[in-house]
Amino acid sequence: MDIANGAALPDRDTLLDWYRQMVLIREFEETCYDLYEEKRITGVYLHLYSGQEAVGVGALAAIEPRDHAITAYRDHGVALARGVDPGPLMAEMMGKRSGVSGGKGGSMHLASREHNFWGGFAIVGGHLPLAAGIALEAQYSGRDDVVLCFVGDGSSNNGYFHEALNLSAVWRLPVVWLIENNLYGMGTHIDEASGQPLLHKRALAYGMRDGGRIDGQDVVAVNGALDEAVAHARGEGPVLLEALTYRYRGHGVSDRQYNVRLKDELEEWKAERDPITRLGACLEEAHPDSRPAMSALEQAARDQVLAAVKFAEESPAPDADDLVRNVYVE
């Protein structure tokens, strides 16, 4: 399956940079999976982004460093695409003091204030009004920053979604609401959970710009749609759009039946729509000399993730002082 659907392709360096980010995310996530199987990452929550890389990478490439990103608990890919160092991210998975959240947040609560990456939130829909509030601060302060809020398809059916989107429309807040529709809220298919499974159509109900449904496995298409959405949000107000995507792992690592239950569907998505394979093919077609560069990026991703694991495993655990620190601003 081609990508970009005839749209103008970004230059080779841009495509290679997206490739770099996507293979880094895939490598990071699959390593997390293996580490969990080996009990080197513990706990009960680990929600992997494998399969959805084009959404995070394509979308975040459309915003500036001064803009803001916020997401739910499937947050590793967004953190990496926002430029957060894999070492402190891996350390957070392992509950180490050198983790981005000091080992107190875990996989679901990654954040990096300096990257304007506001987290990593674990209550479905809970971060949506936070996104509205962060956008309100920008508007209130007279800046034109925008907030890119990643929204799981599952959260489109709880009250937070309705209240936050409506508020953003009433106040014309600069938010891009990007639904990552991976078809399943835990195990329930979107067709069984939504009266209107074309989730972007909800925009009509709020009187906001409908950015449509885009192919979330096509990084170029995602980026193009987000460029438009961000420009609209920056000037005029909120936008809702939907990227159709697919996750290769279960809802979380504790979802052990996923690969059995959805074997055929999963294999089809992997074989025909994999976002990394598609970007690679696109690069080779447009720039036939790209294969060595891509191979080098794949190797660099493996090296980087290995270094991150080493950094994390060699870091100390938090101690009793850390346990009681930062409940309040003292």
Binding site: V100, S101, G102, G103, K104, G105, H109, A111, S112, R113, W118, G119, G120, F121, I123, G126, L128, P129, L130, A131, A132, G133, I134, A135, L136, E137, A138, Y140, S141, G159, Y160, E163, A164, N166, L167, V170, W171, D322, R325, N326, V327, Y328, V329
Partner: protein, 326 residues
């Protein structure tokens, strides 16, 4: 210090207005806070003075009001979000408890959440079960949040200023029944009541009455009545349900060796339970009598006036409880 006699409602409005003048980052948001002038008139005149950027009417969306306040606070503003009544804060419990209270800890100090959730609280005139709560202890259950509950106009003024200036999230409970009651309000724009500090409303040597908000009023009435019968009560107004000024309770208890806890809220897993547990753990050698509690009855509140009042604490019930232990 010079002071003016004002109802609590006016003291709160004065504090809000002065803090908005003092700090551009402070703004008000909530249902009917602007053009309507506030359901309880706390924000009266602010919309006209500050405009719709800083006095923001919202849809009836408690989750979004509280959640957007959290986001705005993380990003550097100082929101004062109004819950028309504290009963509606139940709709936003997740935004308050899982987000406002925990974000600083969860991200190990990367963010602070300097905001105030103001909420009108307490049972009203036949407001019925779902609109008749004093649920402050529920919020005080959670570390990461402060809970304020002033009993006087002067404290309402100073505590709201403290809450707005503090770097932490504060659930600020305002007793609807106390809104119209007057008291001295200091003429001092920097009058602050420190977080977590209670105060002695009345000194006495025989029994310690520990209360907050309306409970203070019932305790003072009871103390006046008991004085005529030769029982001298000390009235401790906790003012903050979190942090809880147990040292103040213990200092009083060392003197009186007896305690009655007075609360408008329900008895199970309550303010009273907490204070009583603290006393038995730490003051066992000073105890001359069981610790008594006066609370609302363990019921949803009914409509009919004849039975509504039976379910609630009052000064007579405080007097009766004191008499059981002296």
């Amino acid at each position: 210090m010079a002071a003016r006699n004002q109802p609590m409602r006016e003291a709160l409005r004065k504090a809000l207005r002065e803090e908005m003048l003092r700090d551009e980052r402070v703004f008000v948001m909530g249902e009917e806070v602007g053009k309507w002038q506030g359901t309880h008139r706390i924000t009266r005149g602010l919309y006209e003075e500050f405009g719709d950027r800083r006095v923001r009417d919202t849809p009836i969306s408690e989750m979004a009001i509280c959640g957007a306040a959290v986001g705005a606070a993380m990003a550097g503003l100082r929101p004062v979000a109004e819950m028309m009544t504290i009963n509606f804060a139940f709709l936003a419990l997740d935004a308050i408890v899982n987000h406002a209270a925990k974000i600083r800890y969860m991200f190990d100090g990367q963010f602070s959440v300097p905001l105030v959730f103001r909420a009108a609280s307490g049972w009203g005139d036949q407001a019925t079960a779902s609109h008749s709560h004093a649920p402050e202890p529920i919020f005080a259950h959670f570390p990461g949040l402060y809970v304020a509950a002033p009993a006087t106009p002067g404290d309402a003024y100073g505590m709201l200023k403290t809450a707005i200036r503090d770097e932490n999230p504060v659930l600020f409970s305002e007793s609807i029944a106390l809104y119209p009651k007057p008291g001295p309000v200091p003429d001092d724009e920097d009058h602050l009541v420190p977080v977590g500090k209670g105060t002695i409303r009345r000194e006495g040597a025989d029994v310690t009455l520990v209360a907050w908000a309306r409970g203070v009023e019932w305790s003072l009435q009871a103390a006046g009545q008991l004085e005529r019968e030769g029982v001298n009560c000390e009235v401790v107004d906790m003012r903050w349900l979190r942090p809880l000024d147990m040292d103040l309770v213990y200092d009083s208890f060392r003197k009186t060796n007896r305690c009655v806890i007075v609360e408008e809220s329900l008895p199970m897993y309550s303010f009273g339970s907490e204070i009583a547990a603290g006393i038995q753990e730490n003051m066992f050698d000073h105890m001359d009598a069981p610790v008594k509690r006066v609370s609302a009855m363990d019921l949803p509140l009914p409509y009919a006036r004849d039975i509504e009042l039976m379910a609630l604490p009052d000064a007579d019930k405080v007097v009766a409880a004191v008499k059981e232990i002296v």
